[in-house]
Symmetry: C2
Subunit: 344 residues, 2 copies
């Protein structure tokens, strides 16, 4: 939901990464953690996923400053079984935990046909598709589930319990960028609610309820003690419950309603868990998986589905490579401000 009246600056990806790295480091992240988070956040901004890009930097910073998350955490990887990797993120961010275990879980998927990565004691504050796309680029199929913070009311219920609980999926294609989707099981992503609130926009029907559980079109009412609905009624609610089970119960992480950050004013990141399932499609005898995906994509186009999952991001990624990463000028000014105080 970009504001058409807002000035946009374009900067090179590497420059944005360096800027974000310096911000993370200045607020207590280790060199390693800062590099992973900066690359992740800059990639999301590069691909046009505004709600999870540089818009979130103030949230990262206030959370680091609150002491709620450990920006210097060193994840502990446990090889739990031939197909099961467990990572204790040590109260750090989820992305460095994934980075620490990525090669091991991919190797296990190749050796066994399928492998699971269970991350707990972790904070996920970004989009989920960057976690799965790299597996598909290596010829693997990946599914990811992450729970977040209680802001979604179960279907038929009265108060928030589930997180926005996204599911992401990636599959390789032959000679094309992977098919990738990342969908919140809430009717709308929390980041989009925040943007709508910031920009004073009204929401469509069925997105959320206010603090009394009444339907509302106001993003502010949802953020002020209200709750989001799940997408697709009871089906989305069942999927959101499944995400709680896979990402929290199965990993040893917190449910979205369990963590208590009241002692850390400014904290914004959920301390929960994340589960990834990685499959090697070449284990099916005689399979030509990537070519089969081309058949499916061809037919989806033929049925009238103009844009394939992930395609909008790839188009924006190409534009960013050509023109630089778009970022609102005032936002970039704020990001640069503390590091480069103005002369006057």
């Amino acid at each position: 939901m970009p504001d058409p009246g807002r000035a946009i600056t374009h900067i090179p990806f590497s420059e944005l990464c360096a800027l974000l790295t310096s911000i993370f480091e200045r607020h207590g992240a280790s060199k390693e953690v800062a590099a992973v988070l900066a690359d992740n956040c800059a990639s999301v901004q590069r691909d046009g996923a505004e709600s999870h890009g540089t818009f979130r930097i103030p949230g990262y910073v206030s959370t680091l400053e609150s002491g709620w998350v450990d920006g210097r955490a060193v994840p502990v990887v446990t090889d739990a079984a031939p197909g099961f990797v467990s990572v204790d993120a040590m109260n750090g961010f989820a992305q460095p935990a994934l980075a620490a275990a990525r090669t091991l879980v991919a190797d296990k998927a190749r050796a066994n046909g399928i492998a699971l990565l269970a991350i707990h004691n972790s904070h996920h504050f970004s989009a989920l598709w960057p976690d799965v796309e790299p597996f598909a680029r290596d010829g693997l199929v990946a599914l990811a589930f992450v729970n977040s913070m209680a802001c979604v009311v179960p279907h038929g219920g009265q108060h928030a319990l589930f997180g926005t609980n996204p599911i992401a999926f990636a599959a390789p294609r032959a000679g094309a960028d992977p098919l990738v989707f990342d969908l919140a099981t809430s009717a709308m992503a929390h980041g989009d609610i925040q943007i709508a609130a910031r920009e004073g926009q009204a929401l469509p029907d069925g997105v959320g309820v206010d603090r009394e559980g009444r339907p509302t079109h106001s993003p502010a009412a949802i953020l002020d003690g209200g709750a989001l609905c799940t997408f697709g009624g009871h089906k989305g609610s069942a999927l959101s419950m499944m995400v709680e089970i896979l990402a929290a119960a199965l990993t040893g992480g917190n449910f979205s309603f369990e963590f208590d950050w009241s002692g850390h004013p400014g904290a914004q990141t959920p301390r929960t868990g994340q589960l990834l399932i990685v499959i090697d499609p070449s284990r099916q005898a005689g399979n030509t998986f990537a070519a089969r995906i081309e058949t499916l994509v061809h037919e989806m186009k033929g049925a009238g589905q103009a844009r394939q999952p992930g395609e909008r991001r790839y188009l924006q990624r190409a534009a960013s490579a050509r023109d630089g990463v778009p970022i609102p000028a005032d936002e970039l000014d704020r990001l640069r401000a503390p590091a480069e105080p103005r002369a006057e």
Copy 2:
């Protein structure tokens, strides 16, 4: 959608199983296949899932008689990798293929933490929850995906391509029946459209389109060259695509739009594939998974979600154990007719 004016007979589960077994055998199924299909169909009827119970027997029969499916198929199980089992159903039904590999995939899940079962060259004509619930009763978590026949239009598209493509999930509880859901990624299950057509009921908004791609409330128009929509707009459509990828591309099965049954008038079962993922939650160090699920269920009830996934089936299952399995009297008469011709 039971017709309140229709007379219902209650018969013991074992009697229904024996009746269905005799019907399957009489129409060309082997003893082994008939036993598996009869138990499956009787279980679905017992649990109140009308649209996939004995209502489907005429479809099974006409498909067997058409020669489209092999009722005597012996599935071929391949131990493809430490965590990957592949089954060629040999153009038989999916349930006997699953039965042939169930113990192996559960053992692999326990040994590796996670395992995958890929079934192809198979026909699935039942509900999906009976495929996952038994794993949860053994302490495992199971996910299943099956594609079907082109009757769902991709979001933004004009003609049918995807199947109703259900996703089923089961997780064990401590001292209670498992949490189980089974949801079609279409806006409504195809069986429910058939029942609505049979009973002359109009459908709600957003369920389907007619043969020209126009929205319709008529189940007959959907069945007569029209198509179903996905649930939840583009999100349901992405999930339906994922089911095609997992159940067909990854298993070596047909996509929902690929098989050609035109040479077999009377054929009704999709010849596609099915994928199951089975996880052993005890591999997460220190995990007390089933107890954690109790915490989640307690909170879901507290948030106002009165009925947990699967609960309606368990209530009907208990009623059927007490009173017998409910079945419309005229349907039961038809099932009994060929085996027990009337004296007059």
